[in-house]
Symmetry: D2
Subunit: 150 residues, 4 copies
């Protein structure tokens, strides 16, 4: 089945680097430090972000940390959006929908985010989460961000 | 970005043919006749279904027919699920989430459905809708079906 | 209908009457005629709309008509929004999420819609669907509409 | 708290107390300690849970903590479900949908959760989040839990 094209060229140069993103996020998003999220890749409208397995609080006892996955997906979308529009601090999530599919293996979790709409006022992203080294999706997420007027 | 693998082999032979599916649906799902939906392809856990452009009631005046797209995605998921589990008449939708992305061109709409979870009790599907001949997604849908005990 | 904790006074006079709404919808939304939807009540940010039981195509054989419920909820939200902002023809659904809870009794279905956010650019509604004369919700829906700039 | 149209009597005695719930959660759900969530009330199919304003990491700089609200709603649903079915450790979230409505005031956040479906295999909840002392909803959530076979 073909993967439908993004509504823009995802091979464009992203509007900020991982270092610039990390600086922006350090000021704004305390949950990123809380969960220890890392940015592996940033592109124009897409990103790969990571939840390290051994980080504090995430998964003691092997229980499923749904809230950590929701936060990870929200962050992945944010990073991909910043890659497309640059450091717009006030972009905010308006909707997020998550389906939990399988209990993940005990590894780092990776979230692949891509925008499926990039409008002037709204952006929509599609995110899949899977453990490192295991292609099986453990959660799927869609989210909408509102982009403030310039 | 890699498209995450399905949790099963989608190249398996589907559990029913388009003809068998049409017969099943004719008895159960009047909205299929209402909208004139067609099945283009059925696979094990995936399907492509079609909303003909010129069908009655769909889009007079060029207005956007959101409800027709919701019905189309629900149907695509149903067809893909039947392809994986066979004609289980009592499988029912429990949740559906749709994001409308762009006003579609005035053409037939195609819905590509694929299962991203196929459990004993629940199946989850990911659907994209786009006009024929235009790769730009106009709507994205996820849905969950409950599968009755055998 | 009480509208608990709405972000506005739901007892204000609605911005249009049922007759004005019917005229607006007749031009724009063919699925309303398709399903035979009726408006029972319209308020400022809320509405009650009805799916008549015996209408064509809805439920022959007693099967569950999920798509009819999705369309009904989308319509209820639209009517409640029009009651709050007046006849803005271009308001469009951007997201809809439905949970199907119980198979409904074989009666007219009523959808109670109320806005839970009424912003300049986005409105969010909360809808419950239940059979007439039966308080048990058979489906619950949230939806977002985008409101075009004036 | 009133639970309109619940599919059961919400005035029944809950199946566990706040103390029993706290003990259960301490073993299973590290994010509860992470965010400092408290249970204000537990009932049969409903609950009120609290995110203290001044807790570590939640909201430095006054930014909106969407992930904390998602986690709070997921927890509220879990508590209400435990009130209805007792301490079933393996109940897991399968779907969560959140709409962010308004930036909350700088106060404790309260989440009112109520079940709108309580089946043998699935439960669905409806959650609203608002700041203490302010009736305006800042987020609305629906979620589904899968209940394991006994």
């Amino acid at each position: 089945m073909p993967a439908p094209q993004a509504p823009f060229d995802p091979n464009q140069t992203p509007k900020l680097t991982i270092a610039e993103l990390d600086e922006l996020v350090g000021e704004l998003a305390p949950f990123v430090a809380l969960y220890g999220f890392k940015v592996d890749e940033i592109g124009f409208g897409w990103a790969r972000v990571r939840l390290p397995y051994d980080y504090n609080f995430v998964r003691p006892g092997g229980t499923i940390s749904g809230p950590a996955m929701m936060a990870l997906a929200d962050y992945g979308m944010y990073v991909g959006l910043m890659g497309a529009i640059g450091p717009v601090a006030l972009a905010v999530t308006t909707n997020l929908n998550i389906n939990f599919l399988h209990k993940p293996a005990e590894k780092d979790l990776l979230c692949d985010a891509r925008l499926i709409k990039l409008g002037k006022r709204l952006a929509v992203g599609d995110m899949s989460i899977h453990p490192e080294g295991d292609d099986r999706m453990c959660a799927h997420v869609t989210a909408t961000y509102s982009i403030p007027p310039q």
